[in-house]
Protein backbone atom coordinates (compact mmCIF):
# COMPACT_ATOMS: atom_id res chain seq x y z
CA UNK A 1 0.00 0.00 0.00
CA UNK A 2 1.44 3.30 -0.99
CA UNK A 3 1.32 6.33 1.23
CA UNK A 4 -1.25 7.90 -1.01
CA UNK A 5 -3.54 4.92 -0.75
CA UNK A 6 -3.01 4.81 2.96
CA UNK A 7 -3.98 8.47 3.32
CA UNK A 8 -7.07 7.94 1.19
CA UNK A 9 -8.08 4.93 3.22
CA UNK A 10 -7.58 6.87 6.43
CA UNK A 11 -9.67 9.73 5.09
CA UNK A 12 -12.43 7.41 3.99
CA UNK A 13 -12.42 5.64 7.33
CA UNK A 14 -12.79 8.84 9.32
CA UNK A 15 -15.44 10.32 7.05
CA UNK A 16 -17.37 7.09 7.18
CA UNK A 17 -17.07 6.82 10.95
CA UNK A 18 -18.16 10.38 11.63
CA UNK A 19 -21.49 10.11 13.40
CA UNK A 20 -24.43 12.42 12.77
CA UNK A 21 -25.65 13.57 16.14
CA UNK A 22 -27.43 16.69 14.95
CA UNK A 23 -30.87 15.31 15.62
CA UNK A 24 -29.99 14.43 19.18
CA UNK A 25 -28.31 17.75 19.69
CA UNK A 26 -31.27 19.68 18.33
CA UNK A 27 -33.65 17.64 20.45
CA UNK A 28 -31.70 18.55 23.52
CA UNK A 29 -31.08 22.07 22.32
CA UNK A 30 -34.73 22.71 21.72
CA UNK A 31 -35.52 22.06 25.33
CA UNK A 32 -32.47 23.91 26.39
CA UNK A 33 -33.30 26.84 24.20
CA UNK A 34 -36.79 27.06 25.63
CA UNK A 35 -35.47 26.89 29.17
CA UNK A 36 -32.81 29.42 28.38
CA UNK A 37 -35.33 31.73 26.85
CA UNK A 38 -37.60 31.42 29.87
CA UNK A 39 -34.79 31.93 32.30
CA UNK A 40 -33.11 34.85 30.68
CA UNK A 41 -35.16 36.55 28.09
CA UNK A 42 -38.49 36.82 29.84
CA UNK A 43 -37.34 38.39 33.07
CA UNK A 44 -35.14 40.75 31.16
CA UNK A 45 -37.95 41.93 28.97
CA UNK A 46 -40.27 42.15 31.98
CA UNK A 47 -37.84 44.23 33.95
CA UNK A 48 -37.08 46.43 31.03
CA UNK A 49 -40.78 47.00 30.44
CA UNK A 50 -41.30 47.95 34.07
CA UNK A 51 -38.30 50.19 34.07
CA UNK A 52 -39.41 51.82 30.87
CA UNK A 53 -42.88 52.40 32.29
CA UNK A 54 -41.49 53.91 35.46
CA UNK A 55 -39.09 56.06 33.52
CA UNK A 56 -41.82 57.34 31.25
CA UNK A 57 -44.12 58.05 34.20
CA UNK A 58 -41.36 59.83 36.08
CA UNK A 59 -40.44 61.89 33.06
CA UNK A 60 -44.08 62.77 32.50
CA UNK A 61 -44.54 63.89 36.09
CA UNK A 62 -41.31 65.83 35.94
CA UNK A 63 -42.42 67.63 32.83
CA UNK A 64 -45.79 68.46 34.35
CA UNK A 65 -44.14 69.65 37.55
CA UNK A 66 -41.74 71.87 35.69
CA UNK A 67 -44.57 73.19 33.57
CA UNK A 68 -46.61 74.20 36.59
CA UNK A 69 -43.59 75.61 38.38
CA UNK A 70 -42.69 77.74 35.41
CA UNK A 71 -46.25 78.92 34.93
CA UNK A 72 -46.77 82.25 36.71
CA UNK A 73 -49.45 82.21 39.38
CA UNK A 74 -52.17 84.79 39.04
CA UNK A 75 -53.14 85.94 42.50
CA UNK A 76 -55.15 89.07 41.78
CA UNK A 77 -56.79 90.71 38.84
CA UNK A 78 -56.61 94.48 38.79
CA UNK A 79 -58.75 96.50 36.43
CA UNK A 80 -58.15 100.12 35.61
CA UNK A 81 -61.00 101.75 33.73
CA UNK A 82 -61.34 105.30 32.50
CA UNK A 83 -62.53 104.85 29.06
CA UNK A 84 -59.55 102.78 28.22
CA UNK A 85 -59.99 99.54 30.07
CA UNK A 86 -56.90 97.63 31.12
CA UNK A 87 -56.79 94.42 33.05
CA UNK A 88 -53.66 93.37 34.90
CA UNK A 89 -53.07 89.89 36.25
CA UNK A 90 -50.81 90.07 39.26
CA UNK A 91 -48.87 87.33 41.03
CA UNK A 92 -48.52 87.07 44.82
CA UNK A 93 -45.44 89.28 44.68
CA UNK A 94 -47.46 92.08 43.07
CA UNK A 95 -45.72 91.58 39.78
CA UNK A 96 -47.68 91.88 36.58
CA UNK A 97 -47.67 88.52 34.86
CA UNK A 98 -50.22 89.32 32.20
CA UNK A 99 -52.01 92.37 30.96
CA UNK A 100 -54.48 93.08 28.24
CA UNK A 101 -56.15 96.02 26.63
CA UNK A 102 -59.91 95.77 26.56
CA UNK A 103 -60.68 98.36 23.94
CA UNK A 104 -59.03 100.39 21.24
CA UNK A 105 -58.29 103.25 23.57
CA UNK A 106 -56.50 100.87 25.90
CA UNK A 107 -54.46 99.59 22.97
CA UNK A 108 -53.35 103.14 22.33
CA UNK A 109 -52.53 103.63 25.98
CA UNK A 110 -50.49 100.45 26.11
CA UNK A 111 -48.81 101.11 22.81
CA UNK A 112 -45.12 100.36 23.12
CA UNK A 113 -45.35 99.24 26.72
CA UNK A 114 -44.17 95.96 28.10
CA UNK A 115 -45.57 95.67 31.57
CA UNK A 116 -44.91 91.99 32.00
CA UNK A 117 -42.68 91.39 34.99
CA UNK A 118 -42.97 94.94 36.28
CA UNK A 119 -44.13 95.77 39.73
CA UNK A 120 -47.82 96.68 40.00
CA UNK A 121 -47.18 100.21 41.22
CA UNK A 122 -44.76 100.90 38.41
CA UNK A 123 -47.16 99.45 35.87
CA UNK A 124 -49.97 101.60 37.19
CA UNK A 125 -47.75 104.66 37.03
CA UNK A 126 -46.93 103.99 33.43
CA UNK A 127 -50.55 103.39 32.52
CA UNK A 128 -51.80 106.56 34.18
CA UNK A 129 -48.92 108.53 32.70
CA UNK A 130 -49.80 107.22 29.28
CA UNK A 131 -53.47 108.04 29.81
CA UNK A 132 -52.59 111.61 30.74
CA UNK A 133 -50.21 112.00 27.84
CA UNK A 134 -52.74 110.65 25.38
CA UNK A 135 -55.55 112.81 26.67
CA UNK A 136 -57.70 110.25 28.37
CA UNK A 137 -57.04 112.01 31.65
CA UNK A 138 -56.91 115.69 31.00
CA UNK A 139 -55.41 118.05 33.54
CA UNK A 140 -57.96 120.63 32.48
CA UNK A 141 -60.91 118.34 32.68
CA UNK A 142 -62.76 118.38 35.93
CA UNK A 143 -64.51 115.14 35.25
CA UNK A 144 -61.72 112.63 35.28
CA UNK A 145 -62.84 109.45 36.91
CA UNK A 146 -60.84 106.29 37.36
CA UNK A 147 -62.35 103.01 38.42
CA UNK A 148 -59.88 100.74 40.11
CA UNK A 149 -61.07 97.25 40.84
CA UNK A 150 -59.21 94.53 42.61
CA UNK A 151 -60.33 90.94 42.51
CA UNK A 152 -58.77 88.78 45.16
CA UNK A 153 -60.19 86.14 47.42
CA UNK A 154 -58.30 87.60 50.32
CA UNK A 155 -60.10 90.77 51.36
CA UNK A 156 -57.12 92.10 53.26
CA UNK A 157 -54.85 91.66 50.33
CA UNK A 158 -57.39 93.23 48.01
CA UNK A 159 -57.57 96.23 50.33
CA UNK A 160 -53.79 96.46 50.45
CA UNK A 161 -53.59 96.38 46.69
CA UNK A 162 -56.27 99.01 46.45
CA UNK A 163 -54.41 101.30 48.76
CA UNK A 164 -51.25 100.72 46.85
CA UNK A 165 -52.93 101.43 43.55
CA UNK A 166 -54.66 104.50 44.85
CA UNK A 167 -51.43 105.90 46.18
CA UNK A 168 -49.68 105.17 42.94
CA UNK A 169 -52.43 106.70 40.83
CA UNK A 170 -52.66 109.70 43.13
CA UNK A 171 -48.95 110.37 42.90
CA UNK A 172 -48.97 110.01 39.16
CA UNK A 173 -51.88 112.38 38.80
CA UNK A 174 -50.18 114.93 41.01
CA UNK A 175 -47.03 114.65 38.99
CA UNK A 176 -49.03 115.38 35.88
CA UNK A 177 -51.07 118.11 37.55
CA UNK A 178 -54.19 116.16 36.83
CA UNK A 179 -57.09 115.48 39.07
CA UNK A 180 -59.49 112.65 39.11
CA UNK A 181 -61.93 110.89 41.28
CA UNK A 182 -60.89 107.38 42.02
CA UNK A 183 -63.61 104.84 42.46
CA UNK A 184 -62.42 101.76 44.26
CA UNK A 185 -64.11 98.44 44.56
CA UNK A 186 -63.37 94.92 45.57
CA UNK A 187 -65.07 92.85 43.01
CA UNK A 188 -66.28 89.35 43.33
CA UNK A 189 -65.61 87.30 40.28
CA UNK A 190 -68.93 85.59 39.82
CA UNK A 191 -69.80 83.82 36.63
CA UNK A 192 -72.32 86.52 35.77
CA UNK A 193 -69.68 89.19 36.06
CA UNK A 194 -67.25 87.21 33.99
CA UNK A 195 -69.79 86.54 31.30
CA UNK A 196 -70.85 90.19 31.21
CA UNK A 197 -67.21 91.23 30.92
CA UNK A 198 -66.60 88.74 28.17
CA UNK A 199 -69.72 89.63 26.22
CA UNK A 200 -69.01 93.33 26.25
CA UNK A 201 -65.24 93.06 26.16
CA UNK A 202 -64.83 95.09 29.29
CA UNK A 203 -62.84 94.45 32.40
CA UNK A 204 -64.29 92.33 35.14
CA UNK A 205 -64.03 95.35 37.42
CA UNK A 206 -66.16 97.49 35.18
CA UNK A 207 -68.55 94.61 34.65
CA UNK A 208 -68.96 94.27 38.38
CA UNK A 209 -69.47 98.03 38.74
CA UNK A 210 -72.06 98.02 35.98
CA UNK A 211 -73.82 95.08 37.48
CA UNK A 212 -74.01 96.76 40.84
CA UNK A 213 -75.33 99.96 39.26
CA UNK A 214 -77.96 98.04 37.36
CA UNK A 215 -78.98 96.34 40.57
CA UNK A 216 -79.55 99.68 42.29
CA UNK A 217 -81.84 101.04 39.62
CA UNK A 218 -84.16 98.86 37.66
CA UNK A 219 -84.38 101.35 34.85
CA UNK A 220 -80.73 100.75 34.02
CA UNK A 221 -79.67 97.96 31.75
CA UNK A 222 -76.35 96.37 32.42
CA UNK A 223 -75.67 95.86 28.74
CA UNK A 224 -76.24 99.53 28.02
CA UNK A 225 -74.15 100.59 30.96
CA UNK A 226 -71.32 98.36 29.84
CA UNK A 227 -70.95 100.36 26.69
CA UNK A 228 -70.49 103.63 28.62
CA UNK A 229 -67.25 105.05 29.84
CA UNK A 230 -66.64 105.49 33.53
CA UNK A 231 -67.21 109.22 33.15
CA UNK A 232 -70.57 108.61 31.57
CA UNK A 233 -71.43 106.15 34.26
CA UNK A 234 -70.65 108.63 36.99
CA UNK A 235 -72.76 111.22 35.22
CA UNK A 236 -75.54 108.71 35.11
CA UNK A 237 -75.05 108.04 38.76
CA UNK A 238 -75.33 111.75 39.32
CA UNK A 239 -78.52 111.99 37.33
CA UNK A 240 -80.17 109.02 38.90
CA UNK A 241 -78.94 109.89 42.35
CA UNK A 242 -77.74 106.36 42.82
CA UNK A 243 -76.18 105.58 46.12
CA UNK A 244 -72.72 104.24 45.62
CA UNK A 245 -72.00 103.53 49.23
CA UNK A 246 -72.48 99.86 48.68
CA UNK A 247 -70.90 99.86 45.29
CA UNK A 248 -67.59 101.61 45.37
CA UNK A 249 -65.38 103.62 47.63
CA UNK A 250 -64.79 107.07 46.32
CA UNK A 251 -61.59 108.91 46.85
CA UNK A 252 -60.37 112.08 45.25
CA UNK A 253 -56.95 111.96 43.81
CA UNK A 254 -55.88 115.38 44.97
CA UNK A 255 -55.03 116.21 48.50
CA UNK A 256 -57.13 119.36 48.18
CA UNK A 257 -60.76 118.38 48.30
CA UNK A 258 -61.86 121.68 46.83
CA UNK A 259 -59.82 120.97 43.79
CA UNK A 260 -61.52 117.73 43.23
CA UNK A 261 -63.63 117.49 40.22
CA UNK A 262 -65.82 114.92 41.79
CA UNK A 263 -66.69 114.54 45.37
CA UNK A 264 -69.17 112.33 46.93
CA UNK A 265 -71.94 113.56 49.07
CA UNK A 266 -72.97 112.00 52.24
CA UNK A 267 -74.83 109.35 50.39
CA UNK A 268 -71.68 108.37 48.57
CA UNK A 269 -73.14 109.69 45.41
CA UNK A 270 -70.64 110.82 42.90
CA UNK A 271 -71.22 114.47 42.47
CA UNK A 272 -69.50 117.03 40.45
CA UNK A 273 -67.98 120.18 41.79
CA UNK A 274 -67.53 123.28 39.77
CA UNK A 275 -64.17 123.63 38.20
CA UNK A 276 -61.63 124.94 40.60
CA UNK A 277 -60.47 128.46 40.49
CA UNK A 278 -58.10 130.53 42.48
CA UNK A 279 -58.67 129.86 46.10
CA UNK A 280 -58.89 132.68 48.55
CA UNK A 281 -56.57 132.12 51.36
CA UNK A 282 -58.34 133.45 54.40
CA UNK A 283 -61.75 134.89 54.40
CA UNK A 284 -63.36 132.91 51.75
CA UNK A 285 -65.34 129.98 52.82
CA UNK A 286 -66.51 126.93 51.12
CA UNK A 287 -70.22 126.92 50.70
CA UNK A 288 -71.50 123.62 49.55
CA UNK A 289 -75.03 122.97 50.48
CA UNK A 290 -75.54 121.01 53.58
CA UNK A 291 -75.50 117.38 53.14
CA UNK A 292 -78.83 115.68 53.30
CA UNK A 293 -77.54 112.32 54.19
CA UNK A 294 -79.76 111.15 56.97
CA UNK A 295 -77.42 108.70 58.51
CA UNK A 296 -74.53 111.05 58.80
CA UNK A 297 -74.30 113.22 61.80
CA UNK A 298 -71.97 116.00 62.68
CA UNK A 299 -69.37 115.08 65.13
CA UNK A 300 -69.46 116.38 68.56
CA UNK A 301 -65.91 117.44 68.11
CA UNK A 302 -66.94 120.18 65.80
CA UNK A 303 -68.73 123.28 66.68
CA UNK A 304 -71.72 124.86 65.25
CA UNK A 305 -70.48 127.84 63.41
CA UNK A 306 -73.63 128.96 61.75
CA UNK A 307 -74.00 132.63 61.72
CA UNK A 308 -77.22 134.27 62.79
CA UNK A 309 -78.44 131.15 64.34
CA UNK A 310 -78.80 132.78 67.64
CA UNK A 311 -76.19 130.55 69.02
CA UNK A 312 -72.85 131.96 69.63
CA UNK A 313 -70.51 130.51 67.07
CA UNK A 314 -67.31 128.90 67.89
CA UNK A 315 -64.44 131.12 67.24
CA UNK A 316 -61.60 129.03 66.05
CA UNK A 317 -58.09 130.25 65.88
CA UNK A 318 -56.91 131.63 62.63
CA UNK A 319 -54.76 128.60 62.07
CA UNK A 320 -57.77 126.38 62.19
CA UNK A 321 -59.09 127.66 58.97
CA UNK A 322 -59.28 124.94 56.45
CA UNK A 323 -56.49 125.05 54.01
CA UNK A 324 -58.79 124.27 51.20
CA UNK A 325 -61.42 126.78 50.48
CA UNK A 326 -63.89 127.27 47.80
CA UNK A 327 -63.19 129.95 45.30
CA UNK A 328 -64.88 133.17 46.04
CA UNK A 329 -66.88 133.18 42.88
CA UNK A 330 -68.45 129.94 43.89
CA UNK A 331 -69.21 131.01 47.33
CA UNK A 332 -72.85 131.47 46.68
CA UNK A 333 -73.27 127.86 45.89
CA UNK A 334 -70.54 126.56 48.03
CA UNK A 335 -70.73 125.41 51.51
CA UNK A 336 -70.41 128.23 53.87
CA UNK A 337 -69.00 128.39 57.25
CA UNK A 338 -68.73 130.98 59.84
CA UNK A 339 -67.26 134.17 58.54
CA UNK A 340 -64.77 133.97 61.27
CA UNK A 341 -63.41 130.91 59.68
CA UNK A 342 -64.88 128.46 62.10
CA UNK A 343 -64.85 124.94 60.85
CA UNK A 344 -68.09 123.42 59.82
CA UNK A 345 -70.11 121.15 61.88
CA UNK A 346 -69.61 117.53 61.31
CA UNK A 347 -67.97 114.49 62.52
CA UNK A 348 -64.71 113.40 60.97
CA UNK A 349 -66.55 111.22 58.59
CA UNK A 350 -69.19 113.58 57.55
CA UNK A 351 -68.69 117.22 58.26
CA UNK A 352 -71.66 119.40 57.56
CA UNK A 353 -71.31 122.86 56.31
CA UNK A 354 -74.22 125.11 56.80
CA UNK A 355 -75.20 127.46 54.16
CA UNK A 356 -74.82 131.05 55.03
CA UNK A 357 -77.99 132.57 56.17
CA UNK A 358 -79.57 129.39 57.30
CA UNK A 359 -80.81 129.74 60.81
CA UNK A 360 -83.13 127.93 63.04
CA UNK A 361 -83.23 124.86 65.14
CA UNK A 362 -81.26 121.82 64.30
CA UNK A 363 -82.40 118.28 63.70
CA UNK A 364 -81.74 116.37 66.86
CA UNK A 365 -80.68 113.33 64.86
CA UNK A 366 -78.58 114.53 61.99
CA UNK A 367 -77.53 117.88 63.36
CA UNK A 368 -78.43 119.73 60.21
CA UNK A 369 -80.73 122.68 60.21
CA UNK A 370 -84.28 121.51 60.25
CA UNK A 371 -84.90 123.56 57.12
CA UNK A 372 -82.38 121.31 55.44
CA UNK A 373 -83.11 118.08 57.13
CA UNK A 374 -86.87 118.48 56.92
CA UNK A 375 -87.20 115.37 59.00
CA UNK A 376 -85.83 113.21 56.22
CA UNK A 377 -82.86 111.85 58.09
CA UNK A 378 -83.07 108.27 59.10
CA UNK A 379 -82.61 109.04 62.76
CA UNK A 380 -80.22 106.18 62.97
CA UNK A 381 -77.50 105.29 65.42
CA UNK A 382 -79.40 106.80 68.27
CA UNK A 383 -77.15 109.83 68.48
CA UNK A 384 -78.94 112.96 69.30
CA UNK A 385 -77.83 116.46 68.69
CA UNK A 386 -78.69 119.62 70.38
CA UNK A 387 -81.47 121.35 68.56
CA UNK A 388 -80.00 124.70 69.39
CA UNK A 389 -76.36 124.36 68.56
CA UNK A 390 -76.40 121.19 66.45
CA UNK A 391 -73.66 119.55 68.48
CA UNK A 392 -73.93 116.17 70.03
CA UNK A 393 -75.89 116.41 73.19
CA UNK A 394 -73.06 114.77 75.02
CA UNK A 395 -70.85 117.62 73.93
CA UNK A 396 -73.29 120.42 74.25
CA UNK A 397 -74.72 119.20 77.50
CA UNK A 398 -77.13 122.08 77.55
CA UNK A 399 -74.33 124.58 77.72
CA UNK A 400 -75.38 126.33 74.57
CA UNK A 401 -78.50 127.61 76.18
CA UNK A 402 -76.84 128.58 79.36
CA UNK A 403 -73.60 130.00 78.28
CA UNK A 404 -72.83 132.36 75.57
CA UNK A 405 -69.60 130.64 74.67
CA UNK A 406 -69.96 127.32 72.99
CA UNK A 407 -68.14 124.32 74.17
CA UNK A 408 -64.53 124.44 73.04
CA UNK A 409 -65.24 123.63 69.46
CA UNK A 410 -62.32 125.14 67.73
CA UNK A 411 -59.65 122.78 68.77
CA UNK A 412 -61.81 119.80 67.99
CA UNK A 413 -62.83 121.14 64.66
CA UNK A 414 -59.31 122.13 63.90
CA UNK A 415 -58.09 118.77 64.81
CA UNK A 416 -60.75 117.16 62.81
CA UNK A 417 -60.01 119.11 59.72
CA UNK A 418 -56.39 118.73 60.29
CA UNK A 419 -56.76 115.04 60.19
CA UNK A 420 -58.24 114.95 56.80
CA UNK A 421 -57.55 118.15 55.02
CA UNK A 422 -57.67 116.56 51.61
CA UNK A 423 -60.20 113.93 52.23
CA UNK A 424 -63.57 113.94 50.75
CA UNK A 425 -64.92 112.94 54.07
CA UNK A 426 -63.45 116.05 55.55
CA UNK A 427 -66.04 118.29 54.07
CA UNK A 428 -69.66 118.35 53.31
CA UNK A 429 -70.29 116.72 50.06
CA UNK A 430 -72.92 118.17 47.97
CA UNK A 431 -73.44 119.23 44.50
CA UNK A 432 -71.93 122.55 43.85
CA UNK A 433 -74.87 123.75 41.94
Amino acid sequence: MTRKEMKQSLKNAVLTATPDVLGEILAVQNDYAVVEFKKESKPKSHISFRMASCAIAAAFMLIIGIFYMVQPTVDSIVSIDVNPGIELSVDPQDTVVKYRALNEDAVKVLDGMNLQGTELGVATDEIIDSMVQKGYLSPESPENTILISVANDDAQKAQRLQNKLTTSVDNTLKRNNAKATILQQNESLTDDVKSLAKENNISVGKADFVKKLAATDESLNAQDLAAMSIKELTSLVDIHQIELSGVVTTEPSSEDPVDNDFVSDGDDNIVKDPPPSEPEPDNSSSNPSPDKKPDKKPSGDNDDTVKDSGIPPVTPPESSEPAEEEPSENSSSAVTSDPTGAPPIGDPDQNVLIEEGDIGPYCEYCGNLLSICEGKCDQSEGKQFCQNCGQLLSVCNGACTEAVEPVQPSSAAEGNLGKNPGSIEGAVMQKGT
Binding site: M1, R3, M6, K7, S9, L10, K11, N12, A13, V14, L15, T16, A17, T18, P19, D20, V21, L22, E24, I25, L26, V28, Q29, Y32, A33, E36, F37
Partner: protein, 187 residues
Protein backbone atom coordinates in the same frame (compact mmCIF):
# COMPACT_ATOMS: atom_id res chain seq x y z
CA UNK B 1 -9.03 29.57 7.62
CA UNK B 2 -9.95 27.32 10.47
CA UNK B 3 -12.52 25.36 8.58
CA UNK B 4 -11.70 22.18 6.71
CA UNK B 5 -9.65 22.98 3.69
CA UNK B 6 -11.71 21.78 0.77
CA UNK B 7 -12.65 24.23 -1.95
CA UNK B 8 -16.04 25.11 -0.56
CA UNK B 9 -14.63 25.79 2.82
CA UNK B 10 -12.96 28.92 1.50
CA UNK B 11 -16.31 30.50 1.10
CA UNK B 12 -17.68 29.03 4.27
CA UNK B 13 -14.87 30.25 6.44
CA UNK B 14 -15.87 33.80 5.62
CA UNK B 15 -19.28 33.06 6.97
CA UNK B 16 -18.15 31.45 10.14
CA UNK B 17 -18.23 34.46 12.42
CA UNK B 18 -21.48 35.49 10.84
CA UNK B 19 -22.76 32.01 11.46
CA UNK B 20 -21.66 32.17 15.06
CA UNK B 21 -23.62 35.39 15.51
CA UNK B 22 -26.67 33.85 13.94
CA UNK B 23 -26.31 30.79 16.14
CA UNK B 24 -25.98 33.07 19.12
CA UNK B 25 -29.23 34.72 18.08
CA UNK B 26 -30.93 31.34 18.26
CA UNK B 27 -31.03 30.64 14.55
CA UNK B 28 -31.55 26.90 14.27
CA UNK B 29 -30.67 26.81 10.59
CA UNK B 30 -27.39 28.54 11.30
CA UNK B 31 -26.60 26.00 13.97
CA UNK B 32 -27.30 23.18 11.58
CA UNK B 33 -25.02 24.78 9.03
CA UNK B 34 -22.33 25.21 11.62
CA UNK B 35 -22.68 21.57 12.57
CA UNK B 36 -22.42 20.38 8.96
CA UNK B 37 -19.34 22.48 8.41
CA UNK B 38 -17.47 21.32 11.49
CA UNK B 39 -18.72 17.83 12.39
CA UNK B 40 -15.94 15.92 10.61
CA UNK B 41 -13.21 18.07 12.08
CA UNK B 42 -14.64 17.88 15.57
CA UNK B 43 -15.08 14.11 15.38
CA UNK B 44 -11.59 13.69 13.99
CA UNK B 45 -10.14 15.82 16.76
CA UNK B 46 -12.06 13.97 19.50
CA UNK B 47 -11.17 10.59 18.04
CA UNK B 48 -7.51 11.52 18.01
CA UNK B 49 -7.75 12.23 21.73
CA UNK B 50 -9.95 9.45 23.06
CA UNK B 51 -9.26 6.84 20.35
CA UNK B 52 -12.80 5.51 20.75
CA UNK B 53 -15.61 5.96 18.27
CA UNK B 54 -18.43 5.72 20.78
CA UNK B 55 -16.75 8.03 23.26
CA UNK B 56 -15.94 10.50 20.48
CA UNK B 57 -19.54 10.37 19.41
CA UNK B 58 -20.78 11.14 22.91
CA UNK B 59 -18.23 13.89 23.34
CA UNK B 60 -19.16 15.27 19.97
CA UNK B 61 -22.72 15.59 21.12
CA UNK B 62 -21.63 17.22 24.36
CA UNK B 63 -19.34 19.55 22.47
CA UNK B 64 -22.11 20.93 20.29
CA UNK B 65 -24.39 21.23 23.25
CA UNK B 66 -21.71 23.25 25.00
CA UNK B 67 -21.19 25.30 21.88
CA UNK B 68 -24.86 26.10 21.76
CA UNK B 69 -24.94 26.86 25.45
CA UNK B 70 -21.83 29.01 25.52
CA UNK B 71 -22.19 30.65 22.15
CA UNK B 72 -23.14 33.92 23.92
CA UNK B 73 -19.63 34.08 25.32
CA UNK B 74 -17.91 33.63 21.99
CA UNK B 75 -15.74 36.58 21.10
CA UNK B 76 -15.39 36.86 17.33
CA UNK B 77 -11.70 36.57 16.55
CA UNK B 78 -11.90 34.74 13.26
CA UNK B 79 -11.15 31.41 14.95
CA UNK B 80 -14.47 29.76 15.66
CA UNK B 81 -13.16 26.27 15.00
CA UNK B 82 -10.31 26.78 17.45
CA UNK B 83 -12.92 27.82 20.02
CA UNK B 84 -14.94 24.67 19.30
CA UNK B 85 -11.81 22.53 19.48
CA UNK B 86 -11.01 24.01 22.86
CA UNK B 87 -14.42 22.98 24.11
CA UNK B 88 -14.02 19.53 22.64
CA UNK B 89 -10.52 19.13 24.10
CA UNK B 90 -11.71 20.15 27.58
CA UNK B 91 -14.61 17.72 27.44
CA UNK B 92 -12.40 14.95 26.16
CA UNK B 93 -9.79 15.45 28.87
CA UNK B 94 -12.53 15.54 31.47
CA UNK B 95 -13.77 12.23 30.17
CA UNK B 96 -10.29 10.77 30.19
CA UNK B 97 -9.77 11.83 33.78
CA UNK B 98 -13.10 10.37 34.73
CA UNK B 99 -12.23 7.05 33.07
CA UNK B 100 -8.82 6.93 34.68
CA UNK B 101 -10.37 7.49 38.07
CA UNK B 102 -12.81 4.66 37.52
CA UNK B 103 -10.02 2.46 36.18
CA UNK B 104 -12.23 1.27 33.46
CA UNK B 105 -11.06 -0.64 30.47
CA UNK B 106 -8.61 0.91 28.07
CA UNK B 107 -9.87 2.57 24.96
CA UNK B 108 -7.70 0.20 22.99
CA UNK B 109 -10.32 -2.46 23.46
CA UNK B 110 -12.87 -0.32 21.80
CA UNK B 111 -10.62 0.70 18.99
CA UNK B 112 -11.40 -2.51 17.24
CA UNK B 113 -15.05 -1.70 17.29
CA UNK B 114 -14.47 1.13 14.89
CA UNK B 115 -13.77 -1.16 12.07
CA UNK B 116 -16.35 -3.68 13.07
CA UNK B 117 -19.35 -1.45 13.63
CA UNK B 118 -18.92 1.60 11.54
CA UNK B 119 -16.35 1.21 8.78
CA UNK B 120 -17.45 -1.21 6.11
CA UNK B 121 -14.16 -1.26 4.23
CA UNK B 122 -11.62 -3.56 5.78
CA UNK B 123 -8.68 -1.60 4.46
CA UNK B 124 -10.01 1.64 5.70
CA UNK B 125 -10.77 0.09 9.03
CA UNK B 126 -7.28 -1.33 9.22
CA UNK B 127 -5.59 1.92 8.39
CA UNK B 128 -7.61 3.85 10.91
CA UNK B 129 -7.04 1.28 13.60
CA UNK B 130 -3.32 1.27 12.98
CA UNK B 131 -3.27 5.03 13.04
CA UNK B 132 -4.90 5.03 16.44
CA UNK B 133 -2.61 2.28 17.68
CA UNK B 134 0.84 3.33 16.54
CA UNK B 135 0.60 7.12 16.67
CA UNK B 136 0.69 9.18 19.83
CA UNK B 137 -1.91 11.85 20.54
CA UNK B 138 -0.08 14.75 18.91
CA UNK B 139 0.72 12.67 15.83
CA UNK B 140 -2.86 11.51 15.58
CA UNK B 141 -4.16 15.04 15.72
CA UNK B 142 -1.76 16.26 13.05
CA UNK B 143 -2.23 13.31 10.72
CA UNK B 144 -5.99 13.15 10.98
CA UNK B 145 -6.55 16.88 10.63
CA UNK B 146 -4.18 17.17 7.69
CA UNK B 147 -5.02 13.95 5.88
CA UNK B 148 -8.72 13.56 6.51
CA UNK B 149 -9.87 17.18 6.84
CA UNK B 150 -7.47 18.82 4.44
CA UNK B 151 -6.09 21.41 6.87
CA UNK B 152 -2.79 22.89 5.82
CA UNK B 153 0.12 22.47 8.17
CA UNK B 154 -0.01 26.16 9.00
CA UNK B 155 -3.65 25.78 9.94
CA UNK B 156 -2.93 22.68 11.98
CA UNK B 157 -0.17 24.58 13.71
CA UNK B 158 -2.57 27.38 14.53
CA UNK B 159 -5.36 25.11 15.67
CA UNK B 160 -3.22 22.97 17.89
CA UNK B 161 -0.93 25.82 18.94
CA UNK B 162 2.07 23.77 17.92
CA UNK B 163 5.04 25.30 16.05
CA UNK B 164 4.91 24.74 12.33
CA UNK B 165 8.28 22.98 12.25
CA UNK B 166 7.12 20.59 14.94
CA UNK B 167 3.98 19.90 12.97
CA UNK B 168 5.95 19.13 9.81
CA UNK B 169 8.49 16.87 11.42
CA UNK B 170 5.89 15.16 13.53
CA UNK B 171 3.70 14.58 10.48
CA UNK B 172 6.50 13.07 8.43
CA UNK B 173 7.53 10.82 11.26
CA UNK B 174 3.93 9.76 11.86
CA UNK B 175 3.23 8.95 8.23
CA UNK B 176 6.34 6.83 8.02
CA UNK B 177 5.42 5.03 11.20
CA UNK B 178 1.83 4.48 10.05
CA UNK B 179 2.84 3.37 6.59
CA UNK B 180 5.20 0.85 8.05
CA UNK B 181 2.57 -0.45 10.46
CA UNK B 182 -0.09 -0.72 7.79
CA UNK B 183 2.22 -2.53 5.42
CA UNK B 184 3.27 -4.91 8.16
CA UNK B 185 -0.36 -5.62 9.03
CA UNK B 186 -1.45 -6.09 5.46
CA UNK B 187 1.53 -8.30 5.08
Amino acid sequence: MLVPGNRDNRKKEQLTDTLMREVANGDRTAFEELYRMTQNSVYCYLLSIVKSHSTAEDLMQDTYLSVRKSIQHYIPQGKPLAWIFTIAKNLAYMELRRVQKQETSDFSDEENQIGVDVISSTVDNLVLRKALEVLNEQERKIVLLHVTQGFKFREVSSLLTIPLGTVLSCYNRAIKKLHKAVNESSG
